[in-house]
C-alpha cells in the first residue's frame, strides 16, 4: 500500500516538476530547469486554449446529459417500477460496465459511421445521422459514464421516503414544486457525487475523441501527441484537467454535498 502511494504520488510530483522543464528544440532532449514557457504556450496558442475549453465543455455536456437521463430513470425505478422491472433496469444499467472499454467505443464508432446503423434508422425520416464529431463524442462518453451517475441518483431516490412527497403535496405543492423543493435538494449529494465521476472521466478521455470525434481534439489528444516530442508541454497540459477537477471538488465540498462522505 505504502509503495503504491509512493509510486502514485511520486509520478504525480514528477509530472508536476516536468511541466516546468523544457525541451531542447534541436536534440528533443528534456532539460531540467525552471521555466513557465510551457504554460505560457498553453495560454498563448489559440489551438491549445480552444482545446482546453472544448474539453471542459464536452465534460460538462456529458455530465448534464447523464444527469438529465438519470433523474427520470431514477424516479421511475425507485418509485414507479415493480421489483421485477426494477431489477431488470438495474442490470441493464450496470451490465455495460462489464464490457471492455474499446468494444463499447468501437460499437459507437460503427453506429455513427457514414451509412451506419444510425443513418439507417434516421433514413425514413429524411435525416442523416450526425456522423463523427463533437456531438458523437458527448453521446459516446455519456454512454460510457452513465452508470456512475445513474446508480447514486437511483439509490438516493430510493432513500427518500414516499411520505415526503405526500407531505409536500399535502402542504400544497404541485408535481414540479415537489421536485424542485424536496426531490432535487435531497438528490444534490448524489448528483454531485455522480458528476465528479462523469466530469473527471470525460476530462481525461481521448480515445473516444479519436474513434468518434472526427477532427475533434481533446486535452488527452494533445498530450498523446506531445508525449514523445515535447514531454514538458504534455505534462503542463496534463496538469490542466487535474487543476479543473481539484477546483470542481473544492466547489462540491463548499456546497456541502460531500459532508456525508
Amino acid at each position: 500500500m505504502a509503495w503504491l502511494g509512493v509510486l502514485y504520488i511520486g509520478s504525480l510530483l514528477l509530472l508536476f516538476a516536468t511541466a516546468f522543464w523544457h525541451t531542447d528544440p534541436f536534440t528533443s532532449k528534456v532539460i531540467p530547469g525552471f521555466t513557465l514557457e510551457n504554460f505560457q504556450e498553453l495560454v498563448v496558442q489559440e489551438a491549445y486554449r480552444n482545446t482546453a475549453v472544448r474539453t471542459i465543455g464536452i465534460a460538462l455536456a456529458v455530465t448534464i446529459l447523464c444527469a438529465a437521463l438519470a433523474l427520470p430513470l431514477g424516479l421511475f425505478m425507485a418509485k414507479v417500477a415493480g421489483p421485477k422491472l426494477r431489477a431488470i433496469l438495474a442490470i441493464g444499467i450496470t451490465l455495460p460496465l462489464w464490457a471492455g472499454y474499446l468494444v463499447k467505443v468501437f460499437s459507437w464508432r460503427i453506429t455513427f459511421s457514414q451509412g451506419g446503423p444510425l443513418d439507417w434508422v434516421l433514413a425514413p425520416l429524411g435525416v442523416d445521422g450526425m456522423g463523427y464529431g463533437q456531438p458523437a463524442v458527448v453521446v459516446t462518453l455519456a454512454y460510457l459514464w452513465f452508470p456512475y451517475m445513474a446508480v447514486p441518483v437511483y439509490t438516493a431516490f430510493r432513500q427518500i421516503p414516499d411520505n415526503l412527497f405526500n407531505a409536500s403535496a399535502d402542504l400544497g405543492a404541485k408535481s414540479w414544486g415537489t421536485i424542485r423543493t424536496v426531490a432535487l435538494p435531497l438528490l444534490k449529494p448524489a448528483l454531485i457525487a455522480g458528476s465528479i465521476f462523469t466530469f473527471s472521466l470525460s476530462l481525461g478521455d481521448y480515445i473516444a475523441a479519436q474513434f468518434v470525434g472526427g477532427k475533434t481534439q481533446m486535452i488527452g489528444t494533445v498530450i498523446a501527441q506531445n508525449i514523445n516530442l515535447n514531454p514538458p508541454l504534455a505534462a503542463a497540459f496534463g496538469l490542466v484537467p487535474i487543476l479543473v477537477v481539484v477546483a470542481y471538488l473544492f466547489l462540491a465540498r463548499k456546497s456541502g454535498a460531500l459532508d456525508a462522505l
Partner: protein, 353 residues
Amino acid sequence: MTGTRSQTLEPPEQSLQAQAAISLRGIEKSFGAFTAVRNLDLDIASGEFFSLLGPSGSGKTTVLRMIAGFERPTDGSIELGGEMVTDKAPFERKVNTVFQDYALFPHLNVAQNVEYGLKLRKVPRAQRQQMVNDALEMIRLPQVARRLPSQLSGGQRQRVALARALILKPQVLLLDEPLGALDKQLREQMQIELKQIQREVGITFVFVTHDQEEALSLSDRVAVFNDGRIDQVGSPADLYERPATRFVASFLGHTNLIEGDLARQLLGAPGPFSLRPEHVRVAPSARAANDQQASLTATVREVVYTGSCTRFVASTPSGADIIFQELNGASTQPPQRGAEVVLEFDRRHAVAI
C-alpha cells in the same frame, strides 16, 4: 353517483343543514385483488375530534389517505365541507395531514418546515415569519427554529409536524397514528396537548389509531373499523357501554362474552351478551338472588394486580371463563387464587350483541 348527490344538495337550506366537514358515500378501495375498504358511509361533523379505530389492516389508514387525496377510491364519493373532492389532488383539498413518521423535510430546518406551505401559498415574508413564530410558540418550541429535524427528539418532531399542518388553517386535520412512535409517558402527555390544541383551534380532527384507550380518551366520536368496514360509530361511552358487535365489545377494553347454555341460564336467552368486568362483583354472602341480579359460582384461577384495581379470571363449573375486576383499597378481603366465589351482576349490564 355524482349527479344524484349534487341534486340532493341543490337547495341551499339543505346544504346548510348538512354542515358535515367530511362526508363519505359508498367508498370502496381495492389494491389488486385485496379489498381494503368496502362500501363505507361516514359523516364527520365540523369541529369534531373523530377517531378511526381498528387493528392494523382494517382499512382505517386507507380511509384517511383517501380523504387526504393520496389514494383515489375505487368507487364512491368524498365531500369536504360540501365540496366534491373525490378526484382532486391533495394540494387542491383544504385538509392537512400529520404523518405517522412525521415526514418532516430533512434538508429544511424547523422554521423552514413550518413555513413550507405558507411559501407555496405566496404569503408575504413578514407575515410568514410572524405566523411561524406564533406556530412555534403554540407548540412551545420557539428555541428550536433553526435546528434540523434530525436534531430533534421524537416528541419535538411530532409537535413540529403538527405546527406545519395547522399553520395552513385547514378545514380538517388528518392525523395518522401520530403518537404511535412515542413512549408511553410522552404519548399520554401529547394526548392532553392534542386535545387542548384541538379545542383552541376548533378545527375538525380525524385521528387514526389502533390504541382503543387513546381513541376513547381523546374523541368526541369513534368509528370502529373491522376488516374494511365500520362496525359501529358512536361516542366513547356508547361504544364501551353498548357495543353493537362482538368485535367492538372485545376490541374496546376487556369483556366477557356470555353465550350458549350459560347465557340461557343467567339471562334467559342464548345471546351472545357482552358483560364488562367492572360490572361483575363478588356477591356479599347475605343476599338472596333477585330479579335484577344474576349470580353464578366460579373458581378463581388467576389474579392480576394492575395498580388501581385487581383483575380476576374465574372458571365456572361448565368451563367458561369470567373476568371480573375490583378496585383496590376496598375494605373487603379480595379473593385468593383457588377460592370458590359467588359472582353476581346486574342483568341490565349484559348487552346483547
